[in-house]
Symmetry: C2
Subunit: 340 residues, 2 copies
């Protein structure tokens, strides 16, 4: 297995020419989703520029773009501090604005930093996009955390927005700027609200960014996987290649002015642990009492209704959980030294 | 007529003792609503500290607090830059967080500055409130601009949130932080969403902060009042003394964790002009075509449903438009030199 991501024979194929020789900016392109997206774009023949502040505890990792290191332009900078942003954006066809702080724990410990990273620092980019003569398409990746505690599943986009953490507030605020710039200035901006994304190139050094990567690490390390309570709370899991597809389709379809859910394969927390044990049978699952501070932010079951996005773009998830987790485990086993 | 605001014999009277000798912080206390509130609090015997960055084009005006100048502590500083915020808040009983940039035009011209003033700079205060041992009550003043274009009147709090300007986004984001701090930490925070507030102590130097003050200025100056289109769009007008009552009642009643509409007396833009002409019959009203850039942000009729707030606090507006506008005209005629 190489670090190359294979192109999948999907409905996307017809769209591939859109990206050939296209000028594309990916913010957060050293991070989890950004790097997977940048690799796919480069493979399709796009001219990719990555801007990334290299926030390593958030997952920025130069090894993530190893397969395309010589094919992309990498700018290591805070977006807001990059003085050439206007000239980069001037010639862009597509901007994928993925740079973000996505840890619940970090957001509550430092709300100001979270707001800076997820919203404030993006505004100069948004202004540059609005002023660009290139009629570019902007794709922003929102998050299920915008909804907060779930009152009705499957979750449609008109579900109440009541985040249980500051991360949800900052992510939502910037989405609102994107949509406002569409309504006010005609900027072709869209948002896809992602759920629990997993797969290669995630941060593996700590458990602050989702539990799937942490379970995978424990599985590979031969350590017991602790599941809180009965582990029956549902989440909706998307393999990162499916998320990359969603980003690309959001870019080339008529999605402007919309914020749309992307979903995946719903299962329980315990369900994820059990699939991993199937892949590596020596793995131990240990039930633990729900820590009170986790219980306070437990949002209930989350299942995305992604029919709006599916209707507009033809997208649906294609990598089932067992296949996705198997690929994930194999990736990190092979490249462990770059992630542990 | 003096600059003193008379105490009104309302249901508030029973609550007056709550503020006697109370330690109260008012952010934006040199501004329009903040100064009227600070005056009332000082008159009730509260120990008032004002933090205000003295953003003069936004309405900060030291003359606004002339009646209580020697009774309050005035700190001229950006909230975020005031190093003693923690020790001020430690002993506070009430925090009225009113500091804001409220101009639509300014927010669109400089979204970053708008976000800084309306949200980012408040987060350190919110953190200080959360850590305070004093079990203080925090009252934030939200705004009807959070709703954006109106799809159903009268507007209830569950109306869709889709601002037509960045001002609505920044005001909404900070409200969400306040409510989150209530849910997550038990901070006794509440938000009242104000509509078109008018009265003494507003900024009168330009028309960027609401049209009523500008109409009043033109009326006093003997200049024609221009009304766009037929001037039939409805707004909901609240005299500033009624808003001060609402702030005080929000502080002492069980409003924590809620965002509630405050309303007033709905009338049309032309209706306001006609009441002013009744007060000063020499005033001329001139119809003008609707400028395209104003039409783009016209939100439709706005009428607040404030029944939730009214049920919880007993509040309702008490100063009808003609009385309020008459007091407003008389105030600025008398103190014109401090406002023109």
């Amino acid at each position: 297995m190489s670090t190359q991501v294979a192109l999948k024979p999907t409905a996307l194929e017809a769209a591939l020419p859109a990206f050939r020789d296209a000028n594309v900016l990916v913010t957060g392109g050293l991070g989890f989703i950004g790097s997977n997206l940048a690799i796919r774009l480069a493979q399709m023949g796009a001219r990719v520029t990555i801007i990334d502040k290299k926030y390593e505890s958030g997952g920025a990792n130069e090894f993530n773009i190893d397969p395309i290191r010589n094919e992309v332009t990498l700018v290591v900078s805070d977006i807001a501090k990059y003085s050439r942003i206007t000239s980069v954006v001037r010639d862009c066809d597509y901007v994928f604005d993925l740079a973000a702080q996505v840890s619940h724990v970090v957001s509550m410990a430092d709300p100001l930093m979270d707001l800076e990273m997820n919203c404030v620092s993006h505004l100069p980019l948004l202004e540059a996009c609005r002023k660009s003569p290139s009629d570019l398409k902007l794709v922003y990746t929102g998050s299920r955390v915008q909804y907060g505690r779930i009152t009705k599943t499957p979750v449609k986009e008109n579900h109440p927005i009541a985040p249980v953490d500051t991360n949800g507030i900052s992510k939502h605020a910037y989405e609102q700027y994107c949509l406002l710039y569409n309504r006010s200035y005609g900027l072709r901006a869209t948002s896809i609200r992602l759920t629990n994304t997993y797969g290669p190139r995630n941060v593996m050094k700590h458990s602050k960014q989702g539990f799937v990567n942490w379970f995978v690490r424990l599985c590979i390390d031969g350590a017991p996987v602790e599941v809180y309570g009965r582990g029956r709370q549902l989440r909706d899991f998307t393999y990162v290649d499916d998320v990359v597809d969603a980003c690309l389709l959001a870019a080339i379809c008529r999605t402007e002015g919309r914020a749309m859910n992307v979903g995946g394969y719903p299962t329980s927390v315990r369900g994820i642990a059990e699939i991993l044990r199937k892949i590596r049978p020596s793995m131990k699952i240990v039930p633990k009492p729900f820590p009170p501070e986790r219980k306070a932010v437990e949002i209930g079951d989350y299942i995305a209704d992604y029919s709006q996005f599916s209707d507009l773009t033809g997208w649906s998830p294609t990598i089932p959980l067992e296949l996705g987790l198997r690929r994930t485990v194999e990736y990190y086993e092979r490249f462990k030294s770059h992630y542990w």
